[in-house]
């Protein structure tokens, strides 16, 4: 009653979302026609549009599904971190990279979809909280004197690039990968001339 989506309906939607992710990763965004996606999901174009109204809505669902689970995953971990900006940034980067590690294909598909859209609108939503953390650390004295907005964009660039990095390095150790990303970011933001800022 509280759930407007039938079990079957939700299942088909999930099938189609998964198929979309698979096709985009395997064949590229350009080759991801509704017909191909539907075939990958073992159904027809008509059925796909019965469940999603439009291709755009299917893509939105792919994106939203990722953002919803990603936000939940990261928020939990960032809030669990000791409430210093440095620990929070560390938790932010680490949880984001681990989430990517666990959802590479979904992340890559989402990035391809979002890139295609002209407006980089929602990216700003991703920038703001990170920039806040950085500014807090600067007022705190634990971070260096960088341009927080530029830094936030750069950190996001490093994290997002990691999704493309993974499929090209199949045997890569996940923890190593995460440690490298976290280390890079922390070195880039840490106050360099105040060693006491670093010891907790």
């Amino acid at each position: 009653m509280a759930d407007p989506l039938t079990r079957t309906r939700q299942a088909r939607r999930d099938d189609l979302i998964a198929a979309t992710i698979r096709v985009i990763n395997r064949d590229g965004l350009q080759a991801a026609s509704l017909e191909r996606i539907a075939a990958e999901a073992g159904t027809s174009k008509g059925t796909a549009l019965y469940h999603f109204t439009s291709k755009e809505q299917l893509y939105s669902s792919v994106v939203d599904a990722l953002f919803d689970s990603g936000r939940a995953y990261m928020t939990e971990r960032v809030l669990a971190a000791t409430a210093t900006p440095r620990h929070q940034v560390e938790a932010y980067v680490e949880s984001n990279l681990r989430f990517i590690l666990d959802n590479v294909e979904h992340v890559v598909a989402t990035q391809r979809i979002v890139q295609q859209q002209t407006g980089t609108v929602q990216i700003d939503d991703a920038i703001a909280p990170l920039r806040s953390l950085l500014e807090a650390g600067q007022q705190n004295g634990s971070f260096g004197d960088f341009d927080a907005d530029f830094m936030a964009h750069s950190i996001r660039a490093v994290i997002d690039a990691a999704a493309y990095y993974l499929p090209e390095h199949p045997g890569l150790d996940g923890d190593h990968f995460i440690a490298e990303g976290v280390g890079l970011v922390l070195r880039a933001i840490d106050a360099t001339d105040r060693p006491e800022a670093r010891t907790r």
Copy 2:
């Protein structure tokens, strides 16, 4: 004979390349049909294909034109730098960012084109030289103990993201922008000789 391209021919090609860049930046890659590009160049679809054989070749020309001038610009400056890895990386990042600053639209158009293509083939060409510099610096002892391949990808991600950053920040001071990018990279790679830097 040494010049297979008539002057007119080359001029038309340049017109079309410039038009392509303009259309992609203004209307997005998806809207960049041959017809629209040709209209922007003040000519017709037929003529565009007379000069370029295929749309793919037109796009390749856009990409190649950027890579050729970019490579020339950067190589000169990296070679002019003092022959320490650190100075060279600094010159690499600085010259790349300055080149982007001077050619934003061309860079953005190129990135959109390359992103669309499934194979991230030529990216590896851009990674190799940078990774070499980083490895040299590590053997040198002037850089920290990071994964050079991952770092090379991350530095490229930061630089490439800068091209998207610029159009969104119109009043931005170019030298500030470059200094921020260079600073970020140098902090990320420098030997810290302070092992306690990582809290984890």
Copy 3:
């Protein structure tokens, strides 16, 4: 047994017919998809086809429902008229216009449906009785010397056009509207016994 249609069944059919009329009037014939009609009736496409087998049959029901009640309404009034052709034509036009006045939406929907169908088959059914009345009046000497078939079509055209006229003139007085229509027709058919009437 004498009543093959359950009361519920008949009620649902009426609901759907009413919904069809509403949708066609509000959104136009082209927008009248089964889905929209079903939604308007508060049910589903599947149910609509359960009650009507095909969309064509639903449309036929809309048309038939109108023709049945219209025929009943008019026949009664024509038969009640004094049995002169002139009084009968007058009763025909008047009752038809009054019926339209009382059932504008249903009439408009029906016309849209019938127009769409290639064959103007049933229109002839509507022409024949009117033509008979006209011919009777001509033999009678009370009508002029016009082409009865053409006149019958023209009178029907005037009456049918009235249905479209009404929605565009919301405040219109019904009796005035009917009087105008009746007057027009009577003047057109009456024996003029003034041969100079035509200047040509």
Copy 4:
């Protein structure tokens, strides 16, 4: 130079317009898909859209072509008539019916197209001039005391219905047909009790 349309282009456009008219008359509006129209014109869907941008524009061209020539034809004849409202209305109806007689298929196709469109917008354009003539004749005293707006709509209904009447009566004599239509209208509008109004 003054003509933006090539001879070939105009020829193809005319072919397609003619094909559209033929298909609508033969198979009905619903069956008039772009593919069928193109096939009828001996070309392909792609070519049809190369010349017309959209199906809607093709239809508009069909409609406009008729209105342009019809307006020219009728205006000439109405202006040539003696400048009494009665002669002008007579010329209006006669020229319109003769135009229909000479262009039945084009007229029918146009009516089907216009009917399909929800808004009966341009119909009002057709009503206004006729209503003006009628009002002039009423002030003049040569016409009876009818509702001029309603009468204008009714006359148009009679004329428009004539287009559908013709194909159903193949052997019909044109002049008889026109005389019937003109006679009907004149009887409907003439002042009945002032015989002097009729003699010039």
